[in-house]
C-alpha cells in the first residue's frame, strides 16, 4: 500500500458525502421534519435544513476539482477547470489537507443530530479521517493546470545563416580548402603525391 495517495479516495468519499448531505437536507425539508428547536419554537419550517444543503453544496464545490496526483497523470472531472480556479484562490486553506479534514469533521457534527442526515455525518467523518491520513502522509492539493502547448519556434535554434550554402563543391574539396578551391574548381582528391607535381596549365 506504499504508493497510495489517500487524498484521491478521500476526495471521492467527500464528494459522495456532500451529495448525501444535500439529499438528506432536501428530504428533511420536503418532509417538514422536526428540528432541534432553538428557543421556544418547534416544528416550524426548519431553519437548520437549508444550512445542511448549503454545507453539502460547499463540500461538493470544494471537492469537485480533483487534485493533481504526484505520480502519473490525473483525469480531470468534466468541467472542473472553472472550480479549480476558484479553489486555488484560497491558497493554503484548500491545499492543506489538515484544514480540509477538520472542516469536514466540523461540518459533519451538526448533521448528526437529525436522522435524515446522520448518513451524511458518518460519510463525512470517514472522509475527514482519510484526509487526515493523507495529510499525515504529507499530501497536498495541487491544482491541475493545462500547460499551453509549446509550439516549437521555427528558426529558434538557427542563430546564423548557413555557412556553406549550395551550390557546394563535392565533399573531398570541402575537406581541404586550398587556393585552387577558392575559385570553385574541383581538385582530384586528398592524395599525397610522392613527387612534387606541378600542374602545367597551358
Amino acid at each position: 500500500m506504499g504508493q497510495i495517495e489517500w487524498a484521491m479516495w478521500a476526495n471521492e468519499q467527500a464528494l459522495a458525502s456532500g451529495l448525501i448531505l444535500i439529499t438528506g437536507g432536501i428530504v428533511a425539508t420536503a418532509g417538514q421534519f422536526a428540528q432541534w428547536y432553538l428557543g421556544a419554537y418547534s416544528m416550524y419550517p426548519p431553519a437548520a435544513h437549508p444550512s445542511f444543503r448549503a454545507a453539502g453544496v460547499l463540500i461538493c464545490l470544494l471537492e469537485y476539482p480533483r487534485g493533481k496526483r504526484s505520480k502519473g497523470s490525473t483525469m480531470e472531472r468534466c468541467g472542473q477547470k472553472y472550480l479549480t480556479r476558484a479553489v486555488k484562490v484560497f491558497g493554503p486553506l484548500t491545499s492543506n489537507y489538515y484544514i480540509r479534514a477538520f472542516l469536514h469533521l466540523g461540518l459533519s457534527v451538526p448533521a448528526g443530530f437529525l436522522l435524515a442526515t446522520i448518513l451524511g455525518t458518518a460519510c463525512l467523518a470517514i472522509a475527514s479521517s482519510i484526509y487526515l491520513l493523507a495529510a499525515i502522509h504529507g499530501e497536498q492539493w495541487t491544482p491541475i493546470e493545462t500547460k499551453p502547448k509549446e509550439r516549437p519556434q521555427v528558426g529558434g535554434t538557427i542563430k546564423q545563416p548557413p555557412s556553406n550554402p549550395p551550390p557546394r563543391p563535392p565533399a573531398e574539396a570541402r575537406k581541404k580548402p586550398s587556393e585552387e578551391e577558392v575559385a570553385g574548381v574541383p581538385v582530384g582528391g586528398p592524395q599525397e603525391n610522392p613527387m612534387p607535381v606541378t600542374d602545367e596549365v597551358v
Partner: protein
C-alpha cells in the same frame, strides 16, 4: 390480495411511504441475490464448459460478467437510496404519531399495545419526540443499526470502486470491497426484529379496518370492532441471498484450493522497459488461445489476485504471462523473482505462485476463417501473442483442420516502449517463415500513433535501412493511424470471394470504426468478399 389485507392496517396508517420502502426492498432482495453470481468466476467457467452445446455467442455473454456486476451494483445503490428516504419519512411519521402529533386515527393506532395483552402496531414505543425520537429508533432498533451500517459499507464500497481508484490504487479497491461481508450479514438480519407490522389474519376477520376506522373510541367496546391484533412480518431477505452467499463461499474455497496447488516457475525473462515474462508449469493445466489467469504471490501479498492474459500457445509445454511493472504488487513480484539482481538466480529462490484459471472464452473463431485481420491496440496486443504462436504451431505441424492461409496483423501503439517483447516474437516468426519459404503467410503492420518531431527526424534519416529502426523487423513501422478504408479495399481486392474475419482487441471507438468498415466493404450478395467483425472480450 392477501398481502394487501394483512398490511392494510399499517398502510392506511403510514400512507404510501411504507409501500415506497417495501418496493425497493423487494428489488434489493433480487439485486443482492444477483450481485454475487457474476464474480464466481470458477462457477462461470464451469457453466461455460458444460454448455458447449450452446453457440459461442451465448457463451460469450459470460465474459461480460463484470459489466453485469457493476450494473447490478448501481441498481442496489439506487434502490437503497429510495428505501432509505422512504423509511426516513416512515420513522418521522411513526414517532410523530406516538407523541400525539398526528391525525387521531394514527394516534389511536399507536396507542394500541400500551395496555397489557395488546399487540402493538407502531414500532416506536417510547414517547420521545422528533428529532431525538427518530435518532433513538435508529440506534436502538436492529433495523436502524443494521440499516445505517450496511448503507455506510455500501457507500464506502462504491467510492473506492470508481475508475480512478480501481486503476491506480487497486489495493484500496480490493480490501474495501471486502466490506461486502458485513453488508450481507447486516442485510440478512436487517428485518429480524420484525418492526414492520400488520394485522394478523384472524384479527382481520373480526375487525375490518374499512368499517371500523370511523369509530375509534368504540374499539373493544362494540362487538364489530374488537381491538385489532398485529404481528411482525417475518424477514424474507435471507431466503434470497443465502443461495448466492453459499455459492460465493464455495468459489472462495475453490480459489483457495487451487492456490494450494503447486505451480513451478520454470523461467523468468526480463524484457526491456519494465516487462517481465514468467514461464510456469502446473500439473493438469489446460489452456486455450486468448484466455487469462489470475495470479497470486503470497510473498508479495497474501490476499491479492491479479489477472494476466496468457501469452503462450496451448501447444507449448509451459504457460507464460508477460507482466508490466506499474504498481506495488508488480514491483514486489519483480523483486521477489530476483529480476533486480544481475546474477543468475537459483530455482529454489523463486517465490511460490498460485494460479487460478484459465478463464475467458477461447478465441477459437480465429481458426475457422481462411483469411483474418487481427487488430490489436496498445496493450490489447497481448492475447494476440498467444494466438499468433498457436497459429504458427498449427501451421508447422500441418494441422489438418487449419483453414487459415493468410494473416494480416495490425498493431497500433502509442509509444515504442511496448514494442520490445512482442517485437521479439514477431522477429522469431519472421525468421521461421523465411526458413519455411512462406514469408507471405503473416503480413504485419505496426503503427506508431504517437510520435513527435524529433522522432520523425530520426525515422526520416534512417528510412532506407534494411531493418526497421524501432523494431528491428524487416517490415517497416508506419506512423500515424492506419487508413482503414485503404486497408480494407486492398485486402478485399486481394481475396475476392472469401469470408475474412476481423478480430479486434482495443478501444470502443476503434471497434465502431472497424465495424463500419466491415459493413461498407463487404459485398451484398452471398458471393464476393465478406468481412465479419468479432470484438474480443479479453
Amino acid at each position: 390480495m392477501g398481502n394487501l389485507f394483512v398490511n392494510e392496517g399499517l398502510s392506511i396508517f403510514v400512507i404510501s411511504a411504507l409501500a415506497l420502502a417495501r418496493a425497493p426492498a423487494a428489488c434489493l432482495n433480487f439485486n443482492c441475490m444477483l450481485i454475487l453470481l457474476p464474480v464466481c468466476r470458477n462457477l462461470l467457467s464451469f457453466l461455460r464448459g458444460s454448455s458447449a452445446c450452446c453457440s459461442t455467442r451465448i457463451r460469450r455473454q459470460l465474459d461480460r460478467n463484470l459489466t453485469f456486476h457493476k450494473m447490478v451494483a448501481w441498481m442496489i445503490a439506487l434502490h437503497t437510496a429510495i428505501h432509505t428516504i422512504a423509511h426516513l419519512f416512515n420513522v418521522e411519521w411513526c414517532v410523530n404519531a406516538r407523541v400525539n402529533n398526528s391525525d387521531p386515527y394514527s394516534i389511536a393506532l399507536s396507542d394500541i399495545g400500551d395496555k397489557p395483552g395488546e399487540t402493538y402496531l407502531n414500532f416506536a414505543r417510547q414517547r420521545i419526540k422528533n428529532p431525538e425520537g427518530g435518532l433513538y429508533v435508529a440506534v436502538t432498533r436492529l433495523a436502524g443499526i443494521t440499516g445505517v451500517v450496511i448503507t455506510l459499507c455500501l457507500i464506502l464500497i462504491i467510492t473506492s470502486s470508481t475508475k480512478t481508484i480501481r486503476r491506480s490504487y487497486f489495493e484500496v479497491f480490493w480490501y474495501t470491497h471486502h466490506l461486502f461481508v458485513i453488508f450481507f450479514i447486516g442485510l440478512a438480519i436487517h428485518g429480524a426484529e420484525r418492526i414492520v407490522r400488520g394485522q394478523t389474519a384472524e384479527s382481520l376477520l373480526k375487525h375490518k379496518p374499512r368499517e371500523c376506522y370511523q369509530n375509534i373510541s368504540q374499539w373493544g367496546k362494540i362487538k364489530d370492532c374488537p381491538i385489532p391484533e398485529f404481528s411482525g412480518n417475518p424477514p424474507m431477505t435471507w431466503k434470497w441471498i443465502v443461495g448466492p452467499m453459499f455459492l460465493y463461499l464455495c468459489e472462495r474455497l475453490v480459489r483457495f484450493w487451487r492456490s494450494q496447488q503447486k505451480v513451478v516457475i520454470t523461467k523468468v525473462v526480463t524484457h526491456p522497459f519494465k516487462t517481465i515474462e514468467l514461464q510456469m508449469k502446473k500439473k493438469g493445466f489446460k489452456m486455450e488461445v486468448g484466455q487469462y489467469i489470475f495470479v497470486k504471490c503470497p510473498v508479495v501479498s497474501r490476499l491479492e489476485w491479479h489477472p494476466f492474459t496468457l501469452t503462450s500457445a496451448p501447444e507449448e509445454d509451459f504457460f507464460s504471462i508477460h507482466i508490466r511493472i506499474v504498481g506495488d504488487w508488480t514491483e514486489g513480484l519483480f523483486k521477489a523473482c530476483g529480476c533486480d539482481k544481475q546474477e543468475f538466480q537459483d530455482a529454489w529462490k523463486l517465490p511460490k505462485i498460485a494460479v487460478d484459471g484459465p478463464f475467458g472464452t477461447a478465441s477459437e473463431d480465429v481458426f475457422s476463417y481462411e483469411v483474418v485481420m487481427l487488430v490489436g491496440a496498445g496493450i490489447g496486443v497481448t492475447p494476440f501473442a498467444s494466438i499468433l504462436k498457436s497459429i504458427w504451431y498449427k501451421y508447422c505441424n500441418k494441422a489438418p483442420n487449419l483453414r487459415l492461409k493468410k494473416i494480416y496483423f495490425y498493431w497500433l501503439c502509442r509509444d515504442t516502449h511496448a514494442f520490445e517483447w512482442f517485437a521479439d516474437l514477431l522477429q522469431l516468426l519472421e525468421t521461421q517463415m523465411q526458413e519455411k519459404d512462406n514469408s507471405g503467410f503473416l503480413s504485419y503492420n505496426i503503427y506508431l500513433t504517437g510520435w513527435d518531431e524529433s522522432q520523425a527526424n530520426h525515422f526520416a534519416v534512417h528510412h532506407d535501412e534494411e531493418k526497421d529502426v524501432i523494431t528491428g523487423l524487416k517490415q517497416k513501422t508506419l506512423y500515424g493511424r492506419p487508413n482503414w478504408d485503404n486497408e480494407f479495399k486492398t485486402i478485399g481486392s486481394q481475396h475476392p470471394n472469401t469470408r475474412i474475419g476481423v478480430f479486434l482487441c482495443g478501444p470502443e471507438a476503434l471497434a465502431e470504426t472497424l465495424n463500419k468498415q466491415c459493413i461498407s466493404n463487404s459485398d451484398s450478395g452471398p458471393r464476393g468478399v465478406h468481412f465479419i467483425f468479432n470484438k474480443e472480450n479479453f
